[in-house]
């Protein structure tokens, strides 16, 4: 029972922390205490928190390395943008349309996750890392030649594979609206993403991930991570639970992508390249594998840090790297750990006995 209480306590502390942070930021914004650049970063920060938490489900809880998380974000972003743009007349209310767009983004990313996961998750070893890496690149290239427009007759879509097509060649009526223009990406998007919506998405993500981890399914997923052979020997269906974790993770990344995509009036697929995947992986590793509030803090700090380091001008990324190394040294220091352990209850009851 004590164990149950400890984990529940950590969960509620996470919810409470995120809510408090949201209230504080909202108040600061109200009183004009936030700089313009910081205000502009609020929605992307929310999206990256969701990305980090969802990737933590694959990397920290399932224990499989995924290097293509930005690919799922990209699928979610562009399908979300298409949904939002084409539903403009059907659903005039922006928040509702945002919610629908996020759901569409999550659904398409989940489909992409299933397509990647079905063959790969049956294999043992590091194949998932290789395939997701390739998937991220393939998705980027596919969207780079995707042409999508919307008119009174519905959606028009074409793949500009040989470079001969333009947005005018997809059979759109003159009153039609271009949504995605190949390598230019999505243009003219109505920016309906808002910080409160981002906060709600973070909370939903946390509820899904934390409740999943504390349930029967989550225990099965963690059992696979700790010892696959033993998990099989107690009757756990390996492929099913790997898929469950991976597809959930992909769907949440898609939701984050839709939120992110609807925050900018123009968005190119190159935004979701390999380095974005690595960036999110850095948040997860630095925040601690399997540690959700760690991912949140790491995502916030590391997203804001490059901006805060602007005064170092050319040495910005150098200082960023040094900060990363220092954080890693600090979080692996026994004394720091002991100090943190006194403030925050440990994730699992008996860690002190180790």
């Amino acid at each position: 029972m004590k164990n149950l209480k400890t984990t529940t306590k950590v969960d509620f502390a996470t919810y409470l922390g995120v809510t408090l942070a949201f209230i504080v930021v909202m108040l600061c914004q109200q009183f004009g205490l936030l700089s313009r650049s910081l205000t502009g970063m609020l929605v992307p920060i929310c999206a990256y928190i969701v990305m980090a938490v969802s990737l933590n489900l694959t990397v920290g809880i399932l224990g499989e390395l995924s290097l293509g998380h930005a690919g799922f974000m990209s699928v979610g972003a562009f399908s979300g943008v298409i949904a939002s743009q084409s539903l403009q007349s059907a659903i005039p209310t922006a928040p509702l349309r945002l919610a629908v767009a996020i759901l569409v983004g999550a659904a398409f990313a989940a489909i992409a996750g299933t397509i990647v996961g079905v063959p790969v998750l049956r294999l043992r070893g590091d194949y998932l890392a290789i395939v997701t890496l390739a998937f991220g690149e393939i998705i980027k290239d596919l969207i780079n030649c995707l042409l999508v427009g919307y008119d009174s007759k519905g959606l028009h879509m074409a793949f500009n594979l040989d470079g001969s097509l333009t947005i005018n060649d997809i059979g759109m009526a003159p009153d039609g609206m271009a949504i995605i223009k190949g390598a230019q990406g999505a243009t003219g998007t109505a920016t309906i993403a808002s910080f409160p919506a981002g906060f709600i998405l973070i909370m939903i993500t946390l509820v899904i991930v934390l409740n999943l981890v504390r349930s029967r399914s989550g225990r099965a997923i963690m059992a696979l991570r700790d010892n696959r052979i033993a998990a099989e020997s107690v009757g756990i269906n390996v492929t099913k639970y790997k898929m469950m974790a991976f597809v959930t993770s992909a769907a949440l990344a898609g939701a984050a992508g839709a939120l992110y995509g609807l925050n900018y009036s123009s968005l190119a697929a190159s935004k979701f390249a390999f380095d974005t995947s690595i960036l999110v992986l850095v948040y997860v590793v630095l925040g601690g594998l399997g540690n959700m509030w760690g991912s949140i803090i790491a995502a916030v700090v590391l997203y804001v840090l490059p901006e805060a380091l602007r005064e170092f001008a050319d040495f910005r990324m150098l200082v960023y790297a040094i900060v990363l190394i220092l954080v890693m040294l600090a979080t692996n220091n026994d004394q720091v750990k002991a100090l943190a352990g006194r403030i925050i209850p440990r994730r699992k009851g008996g860690a002190k006995n180790g």
């Binding site: 020997s233 107690v234 008996g350």
Partner: protein, 282 residues
């Protein structure tokens, strides 16, 4: 252990036979029947012509010198390896083509020679993972925490503590499994296997690394488990005091072949067994 006396002596009949099934189980179908079981790794025949029948509530022992193929037999029974030849009938059902997870759901649970626990999880969670297939709520009830979730989680919690109490481990429920002492890890593995509600429990060297008093306690517990759960237990063990003390039927394996079957007394006086262990008398 009164059942042991019910054995008929001197029945070393050729296999397959029901001769080593205790009498109380004779009227029921055997829980396990292996016929002509064998596996080859490339050109190497690791197990060949393995025939054994295990009764409903029997404690069976599988012994043999190092490398005789004992663990391979366990891996065949749990489908970690798929047999090259022969059939395995569990409770009369063929297990051909099943996965290890399906085999567990059919009723075989096992422990491992080199302990395989979920080291980062708590002791209680380890047992709850064993209870996985007895909890029935879906992923969505779990995420939305529907009443079904609370009801079944409460039941699982109580069941886990109950199972841990077999080995007096309920106070360790909060501890991380990887931080337990060696003996406790072995016991936790048995509890986890029991949690899957098996009808046949396979123990791979349960007494390895235990001192004599711990071994004696383990012997009592194995018999207690058999009596409480009314299941069959098959164990691989090098500690002869344990094997001879509690096993009702013993099967001796050497170079992948069964060289003797019978009760403890029969095995102890069998010249082939003595030769396999000690070498030929000059």
């Amino acid at each position: 252990m009164a059942e042991k006396k019910q054995f008929e002596k001197g029945k070393m009949v050729p296999v397959p036979s029901v001769s080593i099934i205790p009498e109380r189980d004779l009227d029921k179908t055997p829980i396990l029947e292996c016929n002509h079981l064998g596996i080859d790794f490339g050109g190497l025949t690791a197990v060949n012509e393995f025939n054994i029948t295990v009764g409903r509530t029997e404690i069976a022992g599988l012994i043999g010198p190092n490398g005789a193929g004992k663990t391979t037999v366990f891996n065949l029974l749990t489908k970690v390896y798929h047999p090259t030849r022969g059939t395995i009938l569990l409770d009369g059902l063929d297990t051909h083509g099943k996965t290890p997870a399906q085999i567990n759901r059919m009723g075989i649970a096992r422990t491992f020679q080199n302990i395989r626990l979920f080291n980062n999880l708590s002791v209680e969670d380890n047992v709850k993972i064993g209870l996985h297939n007895q909890e029935k709520y879906s992923m969505f009830s779990g995420i939305l925490r529907l009443p079904k979730y609370w009801r079944q989680e409460k039941a699982a919690h109580e069941r886990a503590l109950e199972l841990l109490s077999i080995f007096d481990m309920q106070d360790l429920a909060d501890h991380q499994a990887g931080s337990l002492p060696y003996g406790a890890q072995r016991r936790l593995e048995i509890v986890r296997a029991l949690a899957t509600n098996p009808s046949l429990l396979l123990l791979d060297e349960p007494a390895a690394g235990m001192n004599p008093s711990e071994t004696a306690e383990l012997m009592e517990n194995i018999v207690k488990i058999r009596d409480t759960f009314q299941i069959a237990i098959m164990l691989i063990e090098h500690d002869m005091s344990l094997v001879m003390g509690i096993c009702e039927g013993i099967c001796v394996l050497n170079f992948g072949q069964i060289i003797a079957k019978g009760t403890a007394e029969e095995i102890q006086s069998n010249p082939t067994v003595i030769e396999a262990y000690l070498g030929k008398q000059q």
